[in-house]
């Protein structure tokens, strides 16, 4: 026996959740040829037709691009903490975090959340992250196809990987979906919304493996000074597209915004590809050019993080290669390393 839900049922579910005050986000057609995960104003914004791999990731729900840590004001020679300026901040501890729901996420996006859980809880429990994470329910839609830049299979995932999802939908071909609840949150969400059926959805087999992460890991461990990096990274212009559209990249910068007399302290995304990321006050910069920075990105994803957490810091969504203006990204580098 399987539980199924029609597409209209799913949209109704989204409508109910929005009415209940939950912030629902999912893939939406922002412009011709551009699909992004975004907060849905109405259920019809949710894009379900055809295979869609949004250019950004769902990490924004749990790790926003700009988050206010706290506000402050300098009065005379002392500093007072004030409650923050933006109203969606978590500065005051008791304020309830609004519930969040992600619908029709891709498995490679959902799989990133457990990775971020490790990051934000290994030496310091990041309370901002945790409270958002706890309030978030992720409903994934298994892939019934794959894009040219997808390589989830190469990093140990597959189009129906349940990792990080609270519930998973499977296309049934007739516009309705089979629902498989994975966690209590998933079950609570779909409780009473599905019908019995005997139809069973199935997922795409996924792209064939494009590289072996182990060979990549071995290469980066031994070729720190290899001319490969300077040769390969020549075409990298040093922007932050790969890091900011990657579901797993999690580096951030702390910034004081507003007049120096005090306004608020923010956390914002940062990227290892930027010069200021490793700039020293003396003016020296240990990673002065793109070769060292590109190497660092691959090193972190395929060696440093796996050494610490035993899993690859990449879910194979392909966003970095898909969005890179010069067509580089992990897929290009990894395949070049593997077949080089």
């Amino acid at each position: 026996m399987s539980e199924i839900i029609s597409q209209s049922g799913l949209r109704q579910l989204v409508a109910d959740r929005i009415a209940a005050g939950t912030i629902v986000s999912g893939p939406t057609q922002v412009k011709p040829k551009l699909v992004l995960y975004a907060v849905l104003g109405s259920p019809d914004d949710l894009l379900l037709e055809g295979f869609v791999r949004p250019d950004n990731s769902i990490k924004e729900c749990v790790f926003p691009k700009q988050e206010e840590l706290y506000g402050y004001r300098i009065q005379g020679n002392n500093i007072e903490l004030t409650d923050g300026l933006t109203n969606d901040d978590l500065t005051n501890d008791d304020a309830p975090v609004p519930k969040q729901l992600v619908v029709a996420a891709r498995p490679c996006d959902a799989a990133a959340l457990p990775i971020l859980d490790h990051i934000f809880n290994w030496d310091f429990k990041d309370e901002f992250y945790n409270r958002r994470r706890a309030a978030t329910t992720v409903v994934t839609l298994a892939c019934d196809s794959h894009g040219e830049n997808c390589f989830c299979t190469s990093v140990g995932l597959h189009p129906a990987a349940e990792r990080g999802s609270d519930a998973m939908l499977f296309e049934l071909g007739d516009g309705s979906y089979e629902v498989r609840c994975i966690t209590d949150k998933g079950r609570a969400l779909f409780d009473g919304k599905t019908e019995e059926s005997d139809k069973v959805g199935r997922a795409d087999a996924g792209p064939e493996k494009k590289f072996d992460p182990e060979t990549v890991r071995a290469f980066v461990d031994q070729h720190f000074e290899d001319p490969f990096w300077s040769q390969h990274a020549l075409t990298c212009v040093g922007c932050g597209v790969c890091a900011f559209t990657c579901p797993t990249c999690h580096c951030f910068d702390i910034v004081d915004a507003g007049p120096s007399a005090g306004n608020a302290r923010y956390r914002t995304w940062d990227s290892c590809q930027f010069p200021m990321f490793t700039a020293h006050a003396s003016g020296h910069n240990p990673r002065a050019g793109q070769p060292s920075r590109q190497r660092q990105r691959i090193l972190h994803k395929f060696s440093i993080y796996p050494n610490k957490f035993g899993e690859i810091l990449c879910t194979g969504c392909g966003n970095c290669t898909r969005n890179c203006p010069e067509g580089i990204g992990v897929l290009t580098v990894a395949t070049e390393i593997d077949h080089g």
């Binding site: 412009k31 300026l85 990274a233 212009v237 922007c239 932050g240 900011f244 915004a257």
Partner: protein, 446 residues
């Protein structure tokens, strides 16, 4: 803006709306004019806060934006009459900048009625009193500048620009590919150049070995503007480069040479005739073959007449009311994550350390907030005023699909209309920024 309760009376008690006005004035004329208004006891409303600077030449565009960021309802910029500047030409340079900057702010939907430019001499205490009194009254009528950055609901109702049907595009390799590979192989082999910057399978390809020439491709999706790589230290270190350029990319070389960033003599330019690479810019492009290349490959038929030309998005934008435009841009910039791809792909952005990365002082708010994104896009667009050649890379590279090119088009048009200057066309033409003309228009200056 922080509701600073402990510091009351910043303005008078709020018996009705009291506009807050920031005035940037030059030290030698307007500041003395304001002093004269004092010595002759000419009363005017107390709403203005004067910031004294040596010259209008020193008042840069970002200060005007900063004024609005800290909550001013109107900003005044005033200095010596043309010809009277204590430093001979500060006000001429300023006037030219203001002409361009007003066009940018208008395109972004700023309320130009809140930005005033005047010439007030040291002998015109009366005029200072008049300007401040009129400005305060006019701003009081306009009310507080609440729809700055269209915070609140205005954004949701912002409508998008018509984008027209997707232009049919099918990928095809172009015949000149073979000639390109052969030419590059010969160049690398005989050592004329040390590195070739061309197009590869998945993106640009930078080759140093002759035998890699086979990796070069030439098709109707070779989109990137390769001239952006000429500024890179790593590439300069490799020696004399050869660069493959389309006619639109080539214009960047003209601007870069004019700004002493490259020496045209030790660059080998391979110009490719081009019939379009499937980007929005190609629909209007008429430059089929490069003009200054060392060698030109392939040929291109004349511009195909477009059955139904795509809607002119810039005209559609400018047809909107200012508040509507501001809402449009606020919605677009809300998607910006400050990945700076627009900066990194642009051949004209070659600063060692960008103003956005400067933190003493924080000129551009680094957080991707509404304020931070507007400040960044204003700075980026204005630094490209009369320099951007319209290669469209910024719009293409933006992961959030923001219509950045519209801002550059606005300034491109402003430079053409006001100064008859077309960036990247005439190597000998004097650059707009950094020069001035006595008869620049000043109909907007009081």
């Amino acid at each position: 803006m922080s509701d600073d309760s402990t510091r009351d009376g910043t303005m008078t008690e709020n018996k009705g709306f009291e506009p807050k006005i920031v005035a940037y004035v030059c030290n030698w004329c307007t500041y003395l004019g304001a002093d004269l208004a004092g010595t002759t006891r000419l009363e005017y409303p107390p709403n203005v806060r004067i910031i004294r600077l040596p010259c209008t030449g020193r008042i840069d565009f970002n200060l005007i934006v900063k004024g609005f960021e800290i909550g001013a309802d109107a900003v005044l910029v005033s200095g010596c009459h043309p010809g009277d500047c204590h430093y001979t030409a500060g006000n001429y340079h300023a006037r030219r900048r203001w002409i361009l900057f007003r066009e940018l702010l208008d395109t972004l939907g700023f309320d130009l009625r809140r930005i005033h430019f005047t010439w007030i001499s040291a002998a015109e205490g009366k005029k200072w009193q008049q300007v401040i009194t009129e400005m305060t009254e006019q701003t009081r009528q306009l009310g507080p500048y609440t729809d700055l950055y269209a915070n609140g609901s205005a954004q949701d109702s912002a409508n998008d620009l018509p984008s027209g049907p997707p232009t049919p595009f099918e990928f095809k390799t172009l015949p000149a590919e073979g000639a390109l590979r052969e030419s590059c192989r010969k160049l690398l082999a005989d050592g004329t150049v040390k590195v070739v910057i061309g197009y590869g399978q998945r993106g640009p390809a930078i080759l140093t070995r002759a035998e890699d020439a086979g990796r070069l491709v030439w098709n109707n999706r070779c989109v990137s503007n390769l001239t952006t790589y000429l500024k890179r230290k790593e590439i300069k270190a490799l020696g004399k480069p050869a660069v493959v350029v389309k006619p639109c990319d080539e214009k960047s070389l003209v601007v870069l040479e004019k700004e002493s960033q490259l020496d045209r003599k030790n660059i080998h330019v391979i110009g490719m005739a081009c019939e379009g690479v499937g980007e929005p810019k190609c629909t209007f492009c008429t430059a089929r073959t490069p003009r200054f290349a060392d060698e030109t490959l392939g040929e291109a038929a004349g511009p195909a007449s477009l059955a139904d030309p795509p809607p002119n998005r810039f005209a559609a934008l400018m047809a909107m009311a200012p508040a509507e435009r501001m809402a449009f841009w606020a919605k677009q910039f809300d998607r910006c994550v400050k990945c700076y791809a627009c900066r990194q792909v642009c051949p004209m952005c070659y600063c060692e350390r960008c103003i956005a990365d400067k933190n003493r002082p924080i000129a551009i708010d680094p957080a991707p907030s509404a304020k931070g994104n507007f400040a960044w896009q204003i700075a980026r667009a204005f630094h490209l005023a009369a320099r951007c050649v319209g290669c469209g890379e910024c719009s293409r590279a933006c992961p959030a699909g923001i219509d950045l090119a519209l801002l550059n088009i606005a300034l491109h048009k402003a430079a053409q209309v006001n100064f008859g200057y077309d960036a990247g066309v005439d190597p000998a033409a004097e650059p707009v920024v950094g020069s001035y003309a006595l008869q620049d228009k000043e109909d907007f200056i009081g």
